[in-house]
Amino acid sequence: MAPIKILYVDDEEHNLKSFKASFRRQYEIHTAISAFEARSVLTNTNVHIIISDQRMPQMTGVEFFKSIKDSYPDPIRVLLTGYTDIDALAEAINEGHIYRYITKPWNELEVNNCIINAYGAYNSKVELKEKVSELQKTNDELNRFIYSISHELRAPLASALGLVHLVKLEELIDTQSRLGEYWELLEGCCNKLDDNISKTLQYYKNHRYEAANENIDLKTLTDELIALHKQANNVTDQVAFETVIKQPVEFWGDSFRLEIVLGNLISNAIKFQNPAIENKKISITVKVTTLYAQIMVADNGMGILEENLPKIFTQFFRGNHEKGFGLGLFIVKEALDKMEGTINAKSDLDKGSIFTIRIPNKKPI
């Protein structure tokens, strides 16, 4: 095993000598007669522990420790003081860069124990550093992996959907035929897969991304999301959208998570329409105040069974239909939790659902 390396700093020559004499058999001892000399030792040797006398002419021990705090953060620092130096001690401890102090005159056993403990602290510190950088690396790799897998899964799927659309655009298939029916199903499968991929990624990103605070225009956001989900679900005129947006003041929040929340609610409102109803309608009402934004998404769709209402925000819960993946509302809830927002659901089976969310306005002062 490599020896423990100690730097001992003291302005009195005979102290240096006696320290070296006491410990040189167990440890690798470097000595320095001043802070200046100590620094030149540090440039040449990676020491584990620095023990410094407090009372030295040009620079005190505490001052010396302070001066090397940033350039040499790893070595553990121990201060040697007389009983009269309590003020200096308080300062050193409060500023957090000494590990322990030993009062003078020191005895060998005490110093030895201190060295053993300090070396333990040094190892934990280094280990922690290594773990953190390892974790950072894994994290970066994971993010890169997610980025590329998201592209690798998405790109061919988008191509497949493009082809599916093209066949319909070019009217190559009689929509009334058996092939036309299968074609619709195929498109449904592609859309569902696309949706599942984006939900999975949303779930992942919601967990990992730091909350942001941006100025959000709710009208633009709502219109964009409606257009996006109408296209994704092939809605043209079958569903009427009604939006009332009252935003007299700026709204500040996390636009990525707000998009997740609102996007999922809009997409659900589109997906869970009631086929029996003629005038399918989705209305979105937004009200912004200096304290919060309240957004209500209401539909006249199939609604939710009363007994299911308490369960809709749990992971992998799916109602009595095959359309969902069981992640959408769970992600909505998780994203709202990160924004300190709330959600409330009301629903009548076969009549429709109303989701009301409220998110604090985090406008910086």
Binding site: R154, S159, G162, L166, Y209
Partner: protein, 140 residues
Amino acid sequence: MPIKLPKPDTIMLVDDSSFDRKIVQRTVSFTKIFQTILVFASGPEALDYISDNIENPEKLPQLILLDIQMPEMDGFEFLSRVAILPEPLRNSLRFALLSSTDDLDDIAKANANPHIIKLMKKPLHPTALLALLNEHFAME
């Protein structure tokens, strides 16, 4: 609000996926807006074509649809190369990204780039292309 360009007759697609080149090309021709559809499999090829035809503006596109993730030169790098073209030429071009990405960094980069008029999601739908054209070109 930048001024609308006159009704375009030439569009350029840059995409490394042979599938998508075919699909986007067919989707674009479905709109019957463009007389010429230029198709390139990589950024450098497309840039070469543009610089070879600087003196022949009739051969140049008015709208360029650009994939983001491409080996060798990605869509953003392509755009940074385009920035060195002479200004009058640049002003006669509009760029839109066409990608299946929903990566936040890509979206932020696209929003921050003044040369990009829109980040469009694959698959491209003719109605989305028409809406884009109406917004940035005098289509009447």
